[in-house]
């Protein structure tokens, strides 16, 4: 009697377990399929530039001239690679100090006000569509730069400024979480030794959370690296390495979005754009590895 009762009790349990397991496995299988297919698709298209159209990889990565319609067509993507790196790194340079200060303010200085009001406002930035950023950039930042600095207004500076606002929530959120996760004992110990709040933040809090803060920056750069629309609207899109921050330049993403729809699938010009996408994807992998490496260095 008791045994059969136990069995009946165990049954729904096992069924739940089984359903959960199958559901999770299906989700994982679907995810992996998607990722593998995307990588396969981009790689097969991107690599055909080299194998089918016989463009050399070194020419693509180090060439300075991009002229897919030229006679003969020339594919040098270095200006795009340069543009992508300079805009995203400059964006991180602008955004990182702001994000750190915001995080320190929210956790250490005014936790109540900061967490209740400031954090939702900053996170709200992540929800604004990129076309809105692009349009604001084009209507406000570009005319401002054109009036204030010598040059055209469009360019790496405008792109980086727009991107820095876009990656602010990424870096801030990660920095805030890292600061919040810091054990109380560390800070209390520092106060007990007689240090001021500033000394505690500067000597204890920031050095301990540095790997997490770096993770935030790298994720921010990765996000900036992949952003297409907003950058394309404000950067000017000339396929050259610019002489100043206020001269028309190009990024990998802006080159792709600008021409992908206008080129026929399978043509050399189209394949070359897929190669740019492949470079972009490769760079994202590199960023992910850097993040994993930084995570491994965490001191807590």
């Amino acid at each position: 009697m008791a045994q059969s009762l136990e069995r009946q009790k165990a049954k729904p349990h096992i069924a739940e377990e089984w359903v959960g397991k199958v559901y999770t496995l299906l989700c994982i299988a679907f995810l992996i399929t998607t990722i593998v297919s995307i990588v396969y698709f981009v790689a097969s298209k991107g690599l055909s530039t080299f194998f089918v159209n016989h463009v050399s990889l070194t020419n693509l990565v180090t060439g300075l001239k991009w002229s897919p319609d030229g006679q003969p067509p020339v594919f040098g993507a270095l200006p795009f690679i340069f543009g992508s790196f300079s805009t995203s790194i400059l964006a991180a340079v602008i955004a990182a100090p702001l994000s750190f200060c915001a995080a320190v303010f929210m956790i250490e200085i005014a936790p109540k006000f900061g967490r209740r009001y400031l954090q939702p406002v900053i996170e709200l930035l992540a929800g604004i569509p990129s076309v809105v950023y692009g349009f604001v950039g084009l209507s406000v930042i570009v005319p401002f730069f054109r009036d204030v600095f010598p040059g055209q207004g469009v360019g790496i500076a405008a792109g980086a400024l727009v991107l820095s606002v876009m990656i602010l929530p990424t870096i801030t959120t990660i920095a805030t979480d890292a600061l919040a996760a810091l054990p109380k004992g560390l800070k209390e110990g520092s106060y007990a030794l007689g240090s001021t709040r500033w000394q505690t933040i500067y000597r204890i809090v920031l050095p301990t959370t540095l790997p997490a803060l770096m993770t935030g920056i790298v994720l921010g750069i990765a996000r900036a690296f992949g952003e297409a629309l907003a950058v394309q609207m404000v950067i000017g899109n000339a396929p050259h390495i610019p002489h100043s921050l206020f001269e028309s330049a190009s990024t990998l993403t802006s080159a792709i979005t600008l021409s992908m729809g206008n080129t026929a699938m399978g043509s050399v010009a189209n394949n070359a754009l897929w190669s740019l996408a492949l470079i972009l994807m490769f760079m994202t992998f590199v960023f992910v590895f850097i993040v994993r490496w930084l995570e491994g260095r965490k001191k807590l």
Binding site: I32, S37, Q152, Q232, M233, H243, S259, M260, N262
Partner: protein
């Protein structure tokens, strides 16, 4: 896993095919038409196709037309590979696809778009010759004073080198390809080009006639004003056909749609209203190589 994707793709493709093949049948009257088809491609042509397809669907409840933008290249590729039934394009198929693929497509020229060089309103000149335009867009002339204007730097606002609008402008206004110059700005959409030309001191760009308004100044080309009439009678050379390609001869529903597109109701109504020039108003014809016949 790849297999799974493949099966899915095949299944989806099969669904698509089923839809398409159901268009056939006899249809002498509009009301008995049925089927669904997709028109994709040129974003310059999309507003017209969109508007006409809505009217067409109101009149023929059995037909469903979907319109997608995505660029001329995408439109031509998709119609050539059977992913869509109509490919909208600003350029001849021969210019984007290889000859064998282009030969399978049937061209339907539904409208004409004229283009004008536009400059910032502060520029004093109002006429540019072909040679002057070539000098400007190839970077030989970088200051407006060299073409008769004030002492001001020229800022080129271009379209991406793959764009159909740029191809038309280069072919018929410049007569040659131009390179992307250091410091030139390239924008994808006509709206952005107009905004930048209107705002940037010393800017020059080019726009379809339907986009012209008070914020920019259209300049004459070799002394001829860019107007619909001048395009139609052949005196203004910078224009291009808007093509709607089908693969082979279209079936009944698509044919009815294309016929409706060419009807006087649409040609004199929607086409003009949206700023295109009706195809049947053209007194000159042009072939794929650019040869003009009366």
């Amino acid at each position: 896993m790849l297999l799974m994707v493949l099966t899915l793709t095949v299944a989806l493709a099969a669904c698509g095919q089923k839809n398409n093949s159901s268009n056939g049948g006899n249809a002498s009257e509009g009301s008995s038409l049925s089927g669904s088809f997709l028109a994709s491609g040129s974003s310059a042509l999309q507003p017209l196709v969109d508007q006409v397809s809505k009217k067409f669907m109101d009149a023929n409840s059995g037909v469903s037309v979907q319109v997608q933008a995505g660029g001329s290249g995408t439109g031509l590729t998709q119609v050539s590979e059977g992913q869509s039934q109509i490919g909208n394009s600003d350029v001849f198929a021969e210019e984007k696809l290889d000859a064998a693929k282009a030969a399978e497509l049937v061209d339907h020229q539904v409208a004409v778009v004229g283009m004008a060089a536009v400059v910032n309103k502060d520029i004093t000149i109002d006429n540019l010759t072909k040679q002057q335009l070539v000098d400007i867009f190839t970077g030989k002339v970088t200051n407006w004073k060299d073409v008769g204007g004030n002492d001001q730097k020229i800022q080129i606002i271009n379209r991406p080198s793959s764009s159909g609008t740029r191809a038309t402008f280069e072919k018929f206004a410049l007569g040659q390809k131009s390179e992307d110059l250091q410091g030139s700005i390239q924008e994808d959409s006509s709206g952005t080009v107009k905004k930048l030309v209107g705002e940037t001191p010393g800017a020059i760009g080019y726009l379809a006639l339907s986009y012209l308004d008070d914020s920019v100044k259209a300049v004459k080309y070799e002394g001829v004003e860019a107007s619909a009439d001048n395009v139609a009678n052949g005196t203004y050379p910078v224009w291009a056909y808007e093509h709607m390609y089908t693969k082979g001869e279209p079936d009944a529903a698509i044919k009815a749609f294309l016929d409706y597109m060419m009807s006087d109701e649409v040609q004199n109504g929607d086409v003009v209203e949206l700023g295109y020039i009706p195809a049947n108003k053209m007194q000159v014809k042009r072939d794929v190589d650019g040869n003009i016949t009366k």
